[in-house]
Amino acid sequence: MKTVLIIGSGIAGLTCAIRSAESGSRVILAAPYISERAQSVMAAGGINAALKHVDKDDSTALHIEDTWRGGAELEPMENVRALCENAPQMVHWLESLGVVFSRNSEGKIDQRAFGGQSRKRTCYAGTAAGRQIVSALVMEARKYECSARKGGGAGMIERRLRIWFHSALIRGGVCHGAIFYNEETQDLETITADEVVMATGGQNAVFGKTTGSQLCDGYGAAKLFQQGVILRNLEFIQYHPTTIVTAQKKMLISEAARGDGGRLFYLDGGCRVYFMEELYGERGNLMPRDIVSKCIYDCPSQVYLDISFLGEETIDRRLTEIRELCQDYLGLDVTREPIPVEPSVHFFMGGIAVDMKHRTNIEHLYAVGECASMYHGANRLGGNSLLAAVYSGSAAARAISGSESAAHPDFSADLAEARAELSGREGTPCPVPAVQIYEEMTGIMNSNLGITRTENKLKDGIERIRECRGLCSGRVLDESVTPYQRYALPSLLTLCEAVLTAALQRRETRGAQIREDYPETKPELALPTYAALEQGTIHTWITEKESKNEITC
């Protein structure tokens, strides 16, 4: 029986686990916390598929067209096609597992309008799509957890909790498992497997407060990058236009609010200016996120989102969580007052480079969900990333079921080396508390890699990130952060430098990459950026395939 190690148990990891168990594998599903704590539960608005339940003239072709155009024409068409053509099947699969989707008057899954989409295509579950999907997937996975307890048989899932990814076990370009930090034993351990799937989500923590979970820090991609894995499209970071900011958190006001009619405005001498409608007409509030965020950024004063005119009954029925959120965190009643909003970091179009089977450039190593870069081009449409999480998890599971497994070499020396490094017995102490370096890192990423970018700011960012890395690389960090954060920090700084370098190299404005100094979009650059680390130097290049020989910036 093939052993599949899946790292991360959000929607992508869970889907891959269930699909792999269905095809008879033994799955080890590893994450520090239960799936109910994964960022996936925060997904609010819904998941896209051209089911034609509301707009009868919708089609897969239109879904493809909207996704490709919304992504600023960067994503290779065959990737977009694979995602959108499989979308109805993915949603029906979720329905068959018991996901509680909202229904229309005919009893079919209801669909709402979402940003950048020409038709009502987003299947939703109130404003808690992610939570409802996780709830059903967790239950389905439990079926295979129960079968593992009963001694196995065909297909089983074993969960490992309280363990954090440390590094992959790679020998000769082949992956054989991973090393983890175990919180309980406070030690490192290895898990070997025939196939390894990364499903560790986005890179929120390098930006500090974002709309997403701090559990997603990008370390998985960062460490693999140091171990020879190629990354892609790192410069494309989505700012969600409508978030509320409190002392503790940045929280999302789902696009569903605008999908259901919500209007953006600012005040000019006491008069409301509905700037999106003035600029883009009737559907202005629902333009793709890159455009709305930039428009809000350019507004002369505080921007508000008004949904009060939708009425209490509609708000309570369709936008429940938005009312609760504003009440709890702002003491604001959305049925009476507009919501003050601003753009915040929300989603990462970039990540681990994969092919259509979600294989990385290392054999037997896959990446799925938000940690992989695929489908969304330079800007993701709302509702497409839950789809990508489910689809990529399924695609990887399908590829795994067919591939041959390899014999495992002995990794005890690698483990011993990692242990020696972690124990910090040898080496010079870092002169600055680690928590301070974390703060510096998030500060640089926010100020030098904001909604708009310039060469000067990016170069300055790279220099300052290098200084931070110089402070902590090879040094022993103090206990102001957890053991996991201690070993993660130098790798995260390397990832930050790669992101800044990719943004610097792309001398154009496209989707979420807005360069003040290069405001035009260049047709010849409608290609992904790749990044690799070779002998400590970051290389980025823009090309159709991963092969580095084509164009280098």
Partner: protein, 170 residues
Amino acid sequence: MCGACAMVINRRPGLACSVFVRDLAGKNPGDGPVQITLEPLSKFPVIEDLAVDRGIMQEDLIRAGDYRERIAEPSAREFDHQYLAGRCLKCGLCLEVCPNYRSGGDFYGAYFANETYLVNSSAGGGDTRIRKEFRRHFAAHCSKSLSCQEVCPMNIPTLSSMLYMNKNRH
């Protein structure tokens, strides 16, 4: 909300991320500084400081085999209830306030009633296997203090789940 930060705040169990100092402070300007006491949930083993190990909740669900074996046509009548039950965070607050719950015992607590409701209602109410588990690990022990429903940060109607599961179906 993810449920990770469940703890006991001034003797009341809650999610720290949505309890505000302004609500704990005295009502009048001259009331002076307030003392805020934070404690870990008492029903679970403490890992460190305020962090507790709630692994028993997952364990109990596996032991009871809480998964769907059959999906019936979705029922419009059950939608709102299923939607609310599907929001469970596994935060453990309902277990913290329950006078009858003891970690590792035969009684699994309020979230379990909601989870079994999800399985049974998806099957149209006729899942006898899960109804047996519900009786064994919930109904036989619950004295209906209903403090679980009051404390639930997701407003899950546990009483309705109990009623549904207790009804004599099929």
